[in-house]
């Protein structure tokens, strides 16, 4: 097991380097140098100094190595638009907000999605199964900007006297509820569906029939045998679902006016603040790589057969 963990962890290093390389090469393709073509013409000597300061006079692979070194030492360089800010400052300021929101959304997704999946699997093809799967399918299909708008319209405007929830902003638990639901709904539906599917598959297994045949009470069968075995695929879904949360956060943070990293990312792209764009892209990629690492190790622990497959 330890060997597996070490091997799997080592594999993330080339992956990280490759992701940084891709992002780096993509950013280089974007036209224009931030220090050229500005409104004020810069004298050539200053231009040369600026180029030297930011290593722009070096060949691209040296610039890449400088950047990798920057990532490794957690220094992502200065912001190109707000000259008095570093990318690090931007991340330090906005990332904790997104992290909190994402954690709330994931919590909502797990706490609501998995029980829905379990209940509808145990009552397969009954009215409650149809209703909850209908709810799950609709929740999956509606785009998150629409869900956010609906939530704001009904819970923060229409029924504000009963709920007392604000329409936007960040601070205090009242402001966390609606965005967390809006962001967590899509992953919630995925959790519910995966849990239901794997529960149904587990219920068909021979060992479940054996457990029933030897006279084990149904509740014990479900808790001891069915749940334990069918929640494993759900664990693996948690990694990719982080991608959903990140994608959704771009929208949800804009609509609810939350000062998170997703909203800032969009601003940095439209404002052509490329070093910030690049820094956040790499940060988000690192998070996903790390989450996949954790999921794989967890999966290797839960299901030893997969250790060799998931190096």
């Amino acid at each position: 097991m330890l060997k597996f963990i070490i091997r799997r962890t080592f594999w993330t290093i080339p992956v990280i380097l490759l992701v940084i390389l891709m992002t780096f090469l993509m950013m280089r393709q974007i036209k224009g140098n931030p220090f050229r073509n500005s409104e004020r013409a810069v004298p050539p000597s200053i231009q040369r100094n600026l180029d030297r300061k930011f290593h722009l006079d070096k060949p691209w692979w040296q610039q890449y190595l400088y950047y990798v070194k920057g990532v490794a030492t957690a220094d992502l360089g200065p912001s190109l638009v707000q000259r008095n800010q570093n990318v690090n400052d931007v991340i330090k300021e906005h990332f904790p907000v997104s992290l909190k929101l994402g954690a709330f959304a994931m919590f909502f997704a797990i706490v609501v999605g998995i029980p829905i999946g379990i209940l509808s699997a145990l009552r397969q093809n009954t009215l409650s199964d149809y209703l909850s799967m209908g709810f799950v399918n609709v929740g999956y299909a509606l785009p998150s900007f629409f869900i956010s708008t609906l939530l704001v319209y009904f819970f923060a405007l229409r029924w504000r006297n009963y709920t007392g929830l604000p329409t936007n902003g960040w601070g205090g638990w009242q402001t966390w509820i609606l965005p967390a639901i809006a962001l967590g709904l899509a992953p919630m539906t995925v959790f519910a569906r995966i849990t239901r599917g794997s529960m149904l598959e587990t219920l068909q297994q021979d060992y479940i029939r054996t457990a029933k045949a030897k006279g084990l009470r149904w509740q014990r069968v479900v808790v001891l045998h069915v749940l334990r075995n069918s929640l494993i695929p759900t664990v693996t879904a948690a990694g990719p679902l982080l991608g959903y949360i990140i994608t959704g956060s771009f929208i949800v943070e804009s609509i609810f006016g939350i000062p998170g990293i997703g909203r800032y990312y969009v601003t940095s792209v439209t404002g052509r603040d490329y070093s910030v764009t690049m820094g956040i892209t790499i940060l988000l990629s690192l998070i996903i790589i790390f989450a996949n690492l954790v999921v794989d190790i967890l999966y290797g622990y839960l299901d030893p057969r997969t250790r060799d497959l998931r190096t």
């Binding site: 080339p14 992701v19 993509m26 399918n137 999956y140 900007f145 990140i246 609509i255 439209t270 764009t277």
Partner: protein, 321 residues
């Protein structure tokens, strides 16, 4: 027939001993197979029969076609000019003259939603086919050649897999500098071809183990004949399923990009940018955001259930991708 009975049994909720049921269905399947051989029924006709037996899938397929018909025919049949500004008609609620109301410039929303649907669905299909092209090529090279190349290609794919897909689409759009139909297609493709490539590789590898492939090699078939004649045609079922699995994701991705302001330029619109316009006035004129959003949901749901039905019809064993 067999499927119908199994569904009926399941619906009745009778917990019969499953092995008994299994015996029955295999017996049924065997007799059905024999009958099908007599009728010279192909695999495809078999699949069609199974698809038709799945009520949810049939309804979804009809809904999908209805949506296509809506976006294709409405702009032809309507007399409204979708680009003409008419401020005296601004913000009309839905009525007989304007079933979907009008927007802030007094343009008929019915035609605009249909035209936006054309853009969304066209981008969706174009990107889906591009994804299929890239994914099939990559996956079948990796699976067919095998060995070190396979290893290297899969490591590369692992690195890209699960990366946040929207940021990379946004970066690609930033490289192009402008958002047009084709740059949107390219950026969505770059951000989401990985799953198809991985599944295709798995398919090719498992097909390679079949006896008829070995036999083809044994009688001296060249590699291209094996690949194009024996392997790729057998992945067609999976490819068709994946078209319907990728399409909703791509349409949703385009809607997200449009909603955060990185969409097709006005006066052209997609469902995402229509929803974005509508978002500005959602309190006073909710229909402007509700209708495009429901269109997206309609497309996603119908494509999703069609994919589900196709999966059951084309490949009853493979329930996992």
């Amino acid at each position: 027939m067999a499927i119908d009975e199994r569904l009926a049994a399941e619906r009745a909720g009778k917990r019969r001993a499953s092995f008994e049921l299994a015996l029955e269905t295999t017996a049924d399947a065997r007799s059905a197979e024999a009958g099908a051989a007599l009728q010279r029924a192909s695999l495809w006709r078999d699949a069609l029969q199974r698809f038709r037996a799945n009520r949810a899938a049939v309804i979804a397929a009809i809904a999908f076609l209805a949506l296509l018909a809506f976006v294709i025919f409405v702009p032809w049949l309507s007399n409204e000019d979708p680009y003409k500004l008419n401020f005296s008609q601004a913000y009309q609620n839905p009525s007989w003259a304007h079933p979907f109301g009008t927007d802030e410039f007094g343009r008929d929303q019915l035609v605009r939603v249909a035209l936006g649907g054309r853009v969304s669905i066209a981008i969706g299909f174009a990107a889906t086919f591009a994804i299929m092209g890239v994914g099939i090529t990559y996956g079948s090279i990796s699976g067919f050649v095998g060995g070190h190349l396979d290893n290297a290609l899969m490591r590369f794919l692992d690195a890209l897999y699960g990366l946040p897909y929207l940021p990379f689409a946004i970066l690609t759009l930033a490289i192009f500098g402008t958002v047009t139909f084709w740059t949107m297609v390219v950026s969505l493709t770059i951000a989401s071809w990985f799953t198809t490539a991985r599944v295709m590789r798995g398919q090719i590898i498992s097909l390679k183990e079949n006896d008829y492939v070995r036999a083809a090699h044994a009688v001296g078939a060249r590699w291209y004949r094996v690949l194009f004649r024996h392997l790729l045609p057998n992945t067609l079922g999976v490819i068709i399923i994946f078209v319907f699995l990728e399409l909703p994701g791509v349409v949703l991705g385009e809607a997200f990009l449009s909603f955060i302001g990185l969409g097709i330029n006005p006066p052209k619109a997609s469902w995402g940018s229509l929803a974005q316009d509508g978002y500005g006035a959602y309190q006073t004129h909710p229909y402007l955001i509700v209708i495009p959003s429901l269109m997206i949901a309609w497309l996603i749901l119908s494509a999703f259930f069609v994919a589900d039905g196709l999966r059951d019809a084309l490949d009853p064993r493979a329930r996992e991708f």
